[in-house]
Symmetry: C2
C-alpha cells in the first residue's frame, strides 16, 4: 500500500507538474498586447544591409536615361512627361509606394518669347548691326536639336530695350560697381559681368543703382573651365568643360517661392500682389551669354585695364570700357543693345508626392525630396538626384509591397516642380501645409544634384544630423575603392578637428537657399540635410560642374564625364537611403544635440572675436549670448544622460516619444518670423542667409557690418536687438531639451 | 482494477486540472508591463466628485481676506507680500504643489509721482485756481486709509502740463471727435470723456488727432450706477454702486506685453526700443476723475446741448462747451489745467509659477492662470480669481501630497504679475517660452475676476472647449439653488440655438485682450477659456461692477455686495477645477472640433451676408473661404468617426496621442504672424481683435470696412488678401484634423 501510495503520489506530482507547465506555457494568458513589441521596435540593421545591396547602378542609369529623354523645363510638355513618369513609378504595383498623387499650384514664371527671341547686338550710331550674340548654343549632340531646348535667358528679367556703351563690371557686386563708378560715369551704360561672387538677380539690382540700363552675364572660362576654351579638343563633347557657346540660364530672383503669393500657397483664387510690387528681381533688361560672345565684346573694350583680380580667362586684357569699345576695334563708337522679350505667365505646375505610411507613428514624417524640373535636359541638375530618389523608392517600395517592411514613421517623397524659378514647388508645399509639416516632420533629406563629380561625399546639414550621416557613410563603400567607406574617403578630402570627436569630415551648414531644403530649413525650422557627391578640389577650380544650366547637361555628358558606371549615384543613393531608413525606423531619433552645441560654440567664439571689443565700447553686452550657448550645452548634455540612463525599449512608449519630440522640435525654437523683416521666409536665426559672409550668427553679423559702416546709433541698436533675438532663441531651444517639467 | 484505474484517471485528471489552473493563474507570467494600464487610464469621475466636495467657501473667504490685506499694485511692497503668500501656499508641505518658484522680468511701468501728485484745476485768466479736482477718493472704510492706495492716474499718460477750454466729447470715439469738430475748433482744448465705448488709451489718441491738448476721463453714473449717485444712502458703503469720488484707474496702452521689449522676453539685458518709439499710448496728458468732479465741470459747460445719446446720468444738460464754461458759471472764461507728473520706470516684476508633474504625459501641459496685481486692494479684480486658484491648488495639492492622485498631464499654475499695466507678466512668459508652450500646451484656463456678480456663469472660449465646459457646469450646483446646476442656471440667462445641440448656453469668443488669456490665444494659438460668475442683466446696466479699479474694491465690498457667503466663488472654483481635471486626466482630450466648425460656419454666413454682393462686384470670390469651412467640417466629422470607432484604451498609446496631438495643435494652424503687421501679437486669424465689430473673420471685416469707406483699389486688394489668409488658415486647420497620412 505504501508503495502504491508512493507511486500514486509521485504520479500525481508528475501530472500536477505537467498541468502547471501546460497552464503556464500552453495557454494564452491575458498577456502583453501585441503592440507592446511593435512600439519598442528599433531600426533593423539587416534590413539596411539588404537595402544597400539592392541599390543598382543599372537602374540608376536607366532612371537617368528616362528622365533626360527630352528637355523638361518647369511646366513644359517635357516636364509633364516627367510628372507622369514619376507617378507611374510610384504607383507601380510591384515597386511603388502606398500612394502617389499630383499636387498643383498656379505660379508666376518668366519665359523668353519663342517667336520673338531675345537679341543682343552691337550697333553703330546709324543703328546698323555690327555683331549679333548667338541666340542658341551650338549643338554637339542630337539631344540639343530638340525644339524644346529653351533659348538662354534670365528668368524674371523684364522685357525691354536698352542701348548704351559697354563696361566690364567684374562680378557685379556692389563693390565692383562702386569701384567702376570711380572711373566711369555709369549712367546709360550696358554692363557685362561674369557669373559668380554675387547672386544672379542682385547683379542687375546693383547695376541699376548706378544708372546702368542693361546687363549681360557670361561664364568666364577661368571660373568654370580651368582655363580651357577650345571646342575642337578641350571642351564638351571632348571633356566635361563648357563649350564656348554654352550659356548658363537661371532665375534672376532673390526670394524663394512664388513671387506673386508670398507666404501663401499659390492656388487658383489666392490673392496675388501686383507684379509691379515684386522686389528682388532685375529692374533692367538682363541676358546671359556664352564666353565666345563675351570674348568678342570684352576684348574690344577701351578704357583702362581692369584691376588684376578682375582679369579672367579670356585671351586678352580686360579693360573697363571707355565706356565702350576701343577706337581700333570694328565696334568703335558703337553701342551694345539688348532687346529682351521675356514674358511672365501664371502657369500650372505640379509637385508629385508619394508616401509610405508609418506603422507605429504615422503622424511623424520623414520627408525626402528633389526637384524634377530642369533648364534643358538637366541630366545632372536635377535628374541625377531624381534618378537616385526613384532607385530608393524602387527598393523600399518593393519591400513594402512584398510585406517585408513598413517604416515606424511615415515617409513622404516630394518631386518638386519649378525649383529652377526659385524653389517654387517646395516653397508652396510648405506654405500650404505649414502647421502640419512643422508639427510632424522629423527631418528633411534633399538630394538635388546627386553627383557634381565622383570624388567624395559632400553634405550640409543641421549639426544634430552629423552623427547619423557619419554612421550611414561608414556603411557604404566609396565608389572606385574595394574596401574604403564613403566616410573614410570623405575625411581625406574635407575634414576638421572637433573638440569632441577629433578629426571628422566637415559637414557644411544650410545657410543659403540653393535648393529645396530652403523652405524646410528657413521657413519651417525642420532639421535637414542636403547631400551629393562632388569634386576633387585639387583637380579643378570650376565654380560648379561646367555644363550647369546649359544645353550640354545631357545623359551623354553625365554618363561619360561625371559618373561613368553610375557608381557615385549608387553611393549617394545608399548613403541617403540609409539615413532615410534610420530617421524613419529608429526607436530614438538619431539626432545629437551636443553636436549642435559645438556649432553654436563655434559661432559664439567667432562672434566674440569679431565683435566683442567694439560692442563693449557701445555698452552692448554679449553676456546673454554666451550664457544662452552655455545653457544649450548644459541641457544637451543633460538630455543625453537621460537617454543613456533610460531603457527606452521597455519603458512606456510615451517616454521615447517625449524625448523624440524634444529632439524633433528643438530646431523650431530657433525660428523668429520677425527677425528679418525684409525676408520673412528666413526665420531660422542661426542659419539665415548673411551678406556679411562671416561664419557666425547671421543677424548679428549683418547688423554689425551695417553699424560698423554707418556708425549710426540706430544701427548699433539693431546689433543689440539681434543679440537679444539670437540669445533668446538659443535659450528657447535649450528649453526644448530641458526636462519637460 | 477497472474501478481503481477509473478513480486513478479521474484523480489524475483532477490533479492535472488543478495544475493547469495553478500554472495559468497562480504563477506570474511574462505578462503586460505595468505601464500598459497606466497609459490607458482615463479621468476618474469619483475623483472629480471628491474635488467638488472639497472646495470650501470658508477657505475661499480666507484666501480673499489674506490677499486683500493691503493694496498690491504691480511691483509695490503689497505686491511682494502677495508673491510671498502665493509661494508659501504652493510650497506648503501638506497642500502645496510639486514645485513653485518666482519668475522675474524687468518691465516698463508708469506711476504717479508720490511726492508731486497729478493735479487738475480750473484756472482763470490770471492763473488763479478756482477749483481743484480731488487728488484722492473719499475714504469709506479703514482699508482706504492705507498709504499704499495709489492716486488715481492714467498709466502711460505722459507727464506734462496742458491748459485750455473744456469740451465734452462723449466716449472719445473717432466719431465723437468728428462730430464735435463740426461745431467747435478743438485745437488747444481740453476734452472730458466718459469711460466706455472705446479703449482707454485710444480716447487720448483720437483726441490728439484733432488738436486736443489734454484729456479727462470720468465714470458716468448712467453707465455704472444705474443712475444712482448719492453717497449718503445710495452708493458704497450702502450698496455696490460707485461713490461720487470713486475713480477708475487703468493702463492707457493699446498693446499687450512690456512696451519696450515687443516679442522678446523683458530680461535685464534684453534690447529695449527707445521709449519715444512706443506706439498706442496717449500723446497728451490724461487723467481720470470721479463723477462728483465731472459734474462740477460738465454742468458748467457752455455751448449747444450735446446730442441726446451723449447725455449721461448727471443732473444737468450736457453741453458741448463754448468751448469752455457758461458765462453764468463761476468758471466763465476759465481754463481747465492738467499738471501730470507720471513717471515711467523699469522695475522688477514677478510671476509666481507652480507645477504638478504629469505621470503619463509630463510633456503635455494644462495651464491655469490669473494675475495677482491689482490697482488698489483689488478684492474682485483680481483677488476673487486668485482666491479661487489657491483653493483649487489646495484641494489638488493635498491629493498629490497624500499620494491619492497625480494627473496624466502636467499642470502649470501661473500667478501673473503686472496684468493691469497691459497683461505684462503673462505676455513675457509666453515670449520667453514660446516654442515650449506652443508645442506642449493642451489648454489654458484663465479665471481673473471670478465673480463680477453672483447670478450666472459666463464663459468665453475656443469653440472646441464648449462641450467640456458644459459637462463640468452640469456637475456643479448653482449658488442659491438646491438642485439646479450651474449649467441649468446659465442657460436661463444667456442661450442660443445651435443647429447641432439645440438650445444651449452661449459661450463667448476670446476676441479681445481683456485678460491674460490674450497671449495664449492670440500669440500662441492655444485653446483657451476665460470664465467667471456674472450679472443678472435684467437687474443692472452697470458697464462692469461699479468698484472696478477704484479704492472701493475691498474685501468688505466683495463679501457684502458681490458674493455674500462666497458661494459664487465656490461654483466657479468647482467648475474651473472640474474642467482643469478633465483636461489633465482625460485619455482623449475633451475637445470637440465639430463645435469649432459650427462657429466657423456662423462666421462664414455672416461674412457672406455682409460682403459677398460687394465682393462679387469687385471680382473677388468668397468660394475658397466657403470651401475651406466645408473642408474643416468634413474633417472634423471624419476625425469624430475615427474616435468613435476606436478602442483607444486598448490600442497603442501612440494612437490616442496621435489624435490628441491633432486636437491640441489644430488651433495653431490658425496663426499667421504676418496677417496683422501693425499688431504682430495678434496672430490668430479667427479670434484677432477687430475694429469693425462684426461677428465674423476679423481681418476680412476690418479690411472690408476700410475698402468700403476709402473705395481705393488697393484696399479692395487687402480684402482679397485677408480672404486668402483666412481660407488657407482654415484649410491648414482642417489638415491637422485629417488622417495624418
Amino acid at each position: 500500500m505504501l508503495k502504491e501510495a508512493l507511486i500514486g503520489t509521485l504520479c500525481g506530482a508528475v501530472v500536477l507538474t505537467i498541468g502547471i507547465l501546460i497552464g503556464h506555457f500552453g495557454i494564452q494568458k491575458n498577456s502583453a498586447p501585441s503592440w507592446v513589441n511593435d512600439v519598442a521596435k528599433d531600426v533593423d540593421e539587416a534590413l539596411i544591409q539588404q537595402f544597400l545591396s539592392e541599390v543598382e547602378t543599372f537602374q540608376l542609369q536607366e532612371n537617368l536615361r528616362e528622365l533626360t529623354k527630352v528637355p523638361h523645363m518647369a511646366t513644359s510638355p517635357g516636364d509633364e512627361e516627367t510628372v507622369k513618369y514619376v507617378l507611374k513609378r510610384w504607383q507601380d504595383p510591384e515597386t511603388g509606394l502606398d500612394e502617389a498623387w499630383r499636387q498643383e499650384y498656379e505660379i508666376y514664371l518668366s519665359f523668353p518669347n519663342p517667336t520673338n527671341p531675345n537679341k543682343v547686338t552691337v550697333v553703330n550710331s546709324l543703328d546698323s548691326v555690327l555683331f549679333t550674340v548667338r541666340e542658341r548654343e551650338v549643338n554637339y549632340t542630337a539631344d540639343q536639336n530638340d525644339p524644346q531646348v529653351v533659348q538662354p535667358f534670365a528668368a524674371y528679367s523684364p522685357a525691354g530695350h536698352a542701348k548704351g556703351k559697354l563696361v566690364f563690371a567684374n562680378q557685379g557686386k556692389p563693390s565692383d560697381f562702386q569701384h567702376l563708378n570711380g572711373t566711369i560715369d555709369l549712367r546709360g551704360t550696358i554692363a557685362i559681368t561674369r557669373y559668380g561672387g554675387e547672386g544672379r538677380g542682385r547683379k542687375a539690382i546693383n547695376a541699376a543703382a548706378y544708372g546702368v540700363v542693361g546687363l549681360l552675364v557670361y561664364t568666364d572660362p577661368l571660373d568654370m573651365n580651368d582655363g580651357l576654351m577650345s571646342d575642337t579638343n578641350e571642351t564638351y563633347p571632348h571633356s566635361w568643360y563648357l563649350p564656348p557657346t554654352g550659356v548658363e540660364r537661371g532665375a534672376y530672383s532673390r526670394d524663394f517661392g512664388d513671387l506673386l503669393t508670398p507666404y501663401l500657397a499659390a492656388k487658383e483664387d489666392t490673392y496675388r500682389i501686383p507684379p509691379e510690387d515684386i522686389t528682388g528681381i532685375p529692374p533692367i533688361p538682363t541676358q546671359p551669354i556664352g564666353f565666345q560672345d563675351a570674348r568678342t565684346l570684352i576684348c574690344a573694350l577701351a578704357g583702362e585695364a581692369a584691376p588684376k583680380d578682375w582679369q579672367g580667362g579670356l585671351d586678352c586684357i580686360y579693360n573697363l570700357g571707355g565706356p565702350g569699345f576701343k577706337p581700333t576695334s570694328p565696334f568703335n563708337n558703337s553701342d551694345v543693345k539688348l532687346d529682351i522679350y521675356n514674358e511672365e505667365k501664371i502657369v500650372n505646375s505640379s509637385n508629385v508626392m508619394g508616401v509610405i505610411r508609418g506603422s507605429v507613428e504615422p503622424d511623424r514624417y520623414v520627408i525626402y525630396g528633389n526637384h524634377r524640373d530642369s533648364w534643358v535636359h538637366g541630366a545632372i541638375d536635377p535628374s541625377s538626384g531624381t534618378a537616385v530618389m526613384l532607385e530608393i523608392t524602387r527598393v523600399l517600395g518593393r519591400m513594402v509591397k512584398q510585406g517585408k517592411w513598413r517604416p515606424r514613421r511615415s515617409i513622404i517623397f516630394g518631386s518638386w516642380g519649378a525649383e529652377e524659378f526659385g524653389l517654387i514647388g517646395s516653397a508652396e508645399y510648405t506654405e500650404e501645409y505649414f502647421t502640419k509639416l512643422s508639427e510632424r516632420t522629423v527631418g528633411y533629406i534633399n538630394v538635388d544634384i546627386s553627383v557634381f563629380a565622383n570624388a567624395t561625399l559632400s553634405a550640409s546639414a543641421m549639426p544634430s544630423m552629423q552623427s547619423v550621416i557619419f554612421r550611414a557613410a561608414k556603411q557604404v563603400n566609396a565608389p572606385g575603392f574595394d574596401s574604403t567607406s564613403v566616410y573614410d574617403n570623405w575625411i581625406r578630402y574635407t575634414n576638421r578637428t572637433s573638440p569632441t570627436h577629433g578629426i571628422i569630415p566637415r559637414v557644411g551648414y544650410l545657410t543659403g537657399a540653393g535648393s529645396d531644403y530652403a523652405a524646410f530649413v528657413h521657413y519651417l525650422g525642420i532639421t535637414s540635410i542636403d547631400m551629393s557627391y562632388t569634386y576633387d578640389r585639387s583637380k579643378t577650380n570650376a565654380r560648379i560642374y561646367p555644363a550647369y544650366h546649359t544645353a550640354c547637361d545631357t545623359f551623354d555628358y553625365a554618363s561619360r564625364f561625371i559618373d561613368p558606371g553610375f557608381v557615385a549615384h549608387q553611393a549617394v543613393g545608399r548613403t541617403a537611403g540609409n539615413i532615410l531608413i534610420r530617421l524613419a525606423d529608429s526607436l530614438l531619433l538619431p539626432f545629437n544635440c551636443k553636436d549642435y552645441a559645438e556649432s553654436l560654440e563655434d559661432y559664439l567664439n567667432t562672434a566674440v572675436n569679431l565683435y566683442q571689443k567694439d560692442l563693449i565700447a557701445k555698452s552692448i553686452s554679449m553676456e546673454p549670448l554666451s550664457k544662452a550657448v552655455a545653457n544649450f550645452r548644459k541641457e544637451a548634455e543633460q538630455l543625453d544622460k537621460v537617454i543613456q540612463s533610460s531603457d527606452l525599449a521597455n519603458e512606456t512608449p510615451l517616454k521615447v516619444r517625449k524625448i523624440n519630440d524634444q529632439l524633433m522640435l528643438m530646431d523650431r525654437a530657433f525660428l523668429n518670423p520677425l527677425a528679418f523683416p525684409n525676408e520673412y521666409g528666413f526665420r531660422h536665426v542661426i542659419w539665415a542667409s548673411s551678406s556679411s559672409g562671416k561664419p557666425t550668427f547671421p543677424g548679428i553679423a549683418d547688423a554689425f557690418a551695417q553699424a560698423n559702416s554707418s556708425h549710426l546709433a540706430s544701427d548699433w541698436k539693431k546689433v543689440h536687438y539681434h543679440l537679444s533675438v539670437v540669445a533668446q532663441a538659443i535659450d528657447g531651444a535649450a528649453n526644448m531639451l530641458k526636462e519637460v517639467i
